[in-house]
């Protein structure tokens, strides 16, 4: 059996390193590698004004580079410090869909996702990201409190 892969759904919430720490600890024990994915919530059906349309490409580039430098790079450094091999992905779209899709493409054994992330009121109305992932995931999913 080759090296295992764990996908980590990682938010840019700086207080929420629990999921990352948990995944790193598990990966370290199992000798697995991590794929850390950060999703910028985006719908192709949202409404944009003329000005926003014209600036969209620029904004997207800025969003991607910010996510890379503020979210993914620190996370990768954390993994590296613990001696765990890790790669990062930044994507636009629906969080749950993209995390589950990434798990499939990476042939991951587990998905790690933090329980926090969206506010309680929001979660009650729209359902929370971890619940959505748990429902559509095709591999075992660890929800980290």
């Amino acid at each position: 059996m080759g090296q295992e892969t764990f996908v980590v759904a990682y938010d840019d919430d700086t207080n929420d390193t629990a999921v990352l720490d948990c995944a790193i600890a598990r990966a370290s024990k199992a000798g697995a590698k991590l794929v850390i994915i950060h999703v910028l919530e985006w719908s192709q059906y949202s409404f944009l004004s003329n000005e926003e349309l014209a600036e969209r490409h620029k904004r997207r580039t800025e969003e991607l580079s910010r996510a890379e430098s503020h979210v993914i790079t620190p996370a990768l450094e954390r993994a590296k410090a613990a001696g765990v091999e890790a790669t990062g992905i930044v994507k636009h779209g629906s969080v749950a869909d993209l995390v589950v899709k990434a798990a499939a493409t990476e042939k991951a054994e587990f998905i790690f996702v933090g329980r926090s992330g969206s506010g309680e009121a929001r979660a009650r109305i729209f359902g929370s990201v971890p619940l959505a992932i748990a429902q559509i995931a095709t591999v075992p999913t660890v929800i980290v409190p």
Binding site: L40, W42, Q44, Y45, S46, F47, L48, S49, N50, E51, L53, A54, E55, R56, H57, K58, R60, T61, E63, L64, K91, H92, G93
Partner: protein, 423 residues
């Protein structure tokens, strides 16, 4: 602000004087712009069909033939593009086809659909609707052409922002083919667009907003609406207070959806009259059903209003569609061809059906012909209303709460159109 208030109070105190101000302003504009309006909307010799409407129709027919009726053969492909079936997942976060279409639509759906249709049906009778639909269908090919060109020849700047439109594609396209005059056409287009923005983009909008407001609030002098709207537009464009614009831009699409839903509700309520109304539309298209000018009267009004509403061939839409991120300019053309369909074939037809069904146009019960008010040059209506007030009266016949909401929508539509012309 205080000055505005003083003027407002003065006007209330002296309605006659205020009426005088309105007339003076009207006269000044008629004196200065009369020749220009006369030139643009000049009729072909011996007819009452303007050359500009004919030009747009001829263009639309040529594009339709040249591209093999792309508006029909490519229709399903357009829908699939908008749904995102062909979008590259790695491009997520860029402007999608759906977003470009939604933004362009929110620019075109507005007073043209509400007031313009009422003008067409009021003068040309229900038959004008048929010709409006025909013009809308042909206009789809025009939109396809201009938006494909808009994307193909747009300018991309180092910071990633883009701008496009007829001024760019005429300059570059002519150059590419080694033809002279591209730059000249581009300048001419720009000058006419500025003049058009002033007339259709601003004056017509403020005028109709006032018509609906004074219909709901009771008559008051028109210059007050004019000054207030100009003031707010000034604050946003020159003063840079973008928050007002942002709120308007986000609210307007919902106003459009709301208008469509109310229209559907009225049609649903009167579903047994829909076939009759379509009958009137078809019959009127070829006989006029009593309107002056008969068949041609209906045809001219229909073609004119369709062009005004969906802006096919005017070039303004190409500017908005140019922002989409695609390596295949033609895909945006496919998406853009849905615009005249939604705007004219669907929404304008809904307004026309409501006006016809609710019976606000006076009809002779014996002959079935519409009663012509020769003095006003249009079909006689209850209380003699026209334009946006006619639409309002038709909708009020089913839902009495509608006029105040329509007034709010009309003001917002007018306002957002004025702002979008500043873009």
């Amino acid at each position: 602000m205080r000055l505005l208030l003083t003027l407002f109070l003065l006007a209330l105190a002296h309605p006659a004087a205020a009426q005088g101000i309105d007339e003076t302003i009207n006269n000044i504009f008629a004196d200065y712009t009369g020749w220009y309006v006369g030139l643009i909307f000049a009729n072909l010799p011996g007819t009452n069909f303007s050359w500009i409407a004919l030009w747009l129709v001829v263009g639309a027919v040529v594009f339709t033939v040249y591209f093999g009726a792309i508006q029909f053969s490519g229709f399903m492909h357009s829908i699939r593009l908008v749904k995102g079936d062909y979008s590259d997942p790695d491009d997520a976060g860029e402007v999608s086809h759906f977003q470009a279409l939604a933004t362009a639509l929110s620019g075109t759906v507005g007073l043209g659909n509400i007031a313009g249709v009422a003008v067409a049906v009021g003068i040309g009778g229900p038959g004008a609707t048929f010709w409006m639909i025909v013009a809308g269908l042909f206009g789809m090919a025009t939109k396809f052409t201009e938006c494909s060109l808009g994307v193909k020849y747009r300018n991309e700047y180092p910071d990633g922002s883009v701008s496009g439109g007829p001024m760019y594609y005429m300059t570059k396209g002519f150059q590419e083919r080694g033809l002279p005059g591209g730059k000249v056409f581009a300048v001419v287009f720009s000058v006419f667009t500025i003049l058009g923005a002033l007339g259709g983009g601003n004056m017509f909008q403020a005028n109709q907003a006032h018509a609906q407001l004074s219909g709901v609030l009771g008559g008051y002098p028109g210059w007050i609406t004019g000054v207030i709207m100009a003031g707010v537009v000034f604050i946003v464009i020159v003063g840079g207070i973008k928050s007002i614009a942002r709120v308007t831009e986000k609210v307007v699409p919902f106003m459009g959806i709301f208008y469509v839903l109310v229209s559907l509700a009225i049609l649903f309520k009167n579903y047994d009259d829909i076939f009759w109304a379509f009958g009137q539309i078809f019959e009127g298209a070829f006989t006029g059903l009593g309107v002056a000018g008969g068949f041609t009267g209906a045809l001219i009004q229909g073609f004119r209003r369709a062009a005004f509403s969906n802006e096919a061939g005017v070039g303004s839409a190409a500017i908005a569609h140019s922002a989409v991120r695609t390596n295949e300019p033609v895909t945006e053309g496919y998406v853009a061809l849905l615009e005249p369909f939604i705007d004219t074939v669907v929404i304008c037809t809904m307004t026309a059906l409501v006006i016809v069904i609710t019976g606000v146009l006076n009809q002779d019960p014996e002959t079935g012909l519409y009663i012509w008010n020769a003095e006003a040059g249009r079909i006689a209506t209850d209380a003699g209303v026209q334009g946006v007030e006619l639409t309002s009266a038709a909708y009020a016949a089913s839902f009495s709460w509608f006029p105040p909401l329509l007034a709010i929508s009309v003001v917002l539509f007018a306002f957002s159109t004025m702002l979008s012309w500043s873009y």
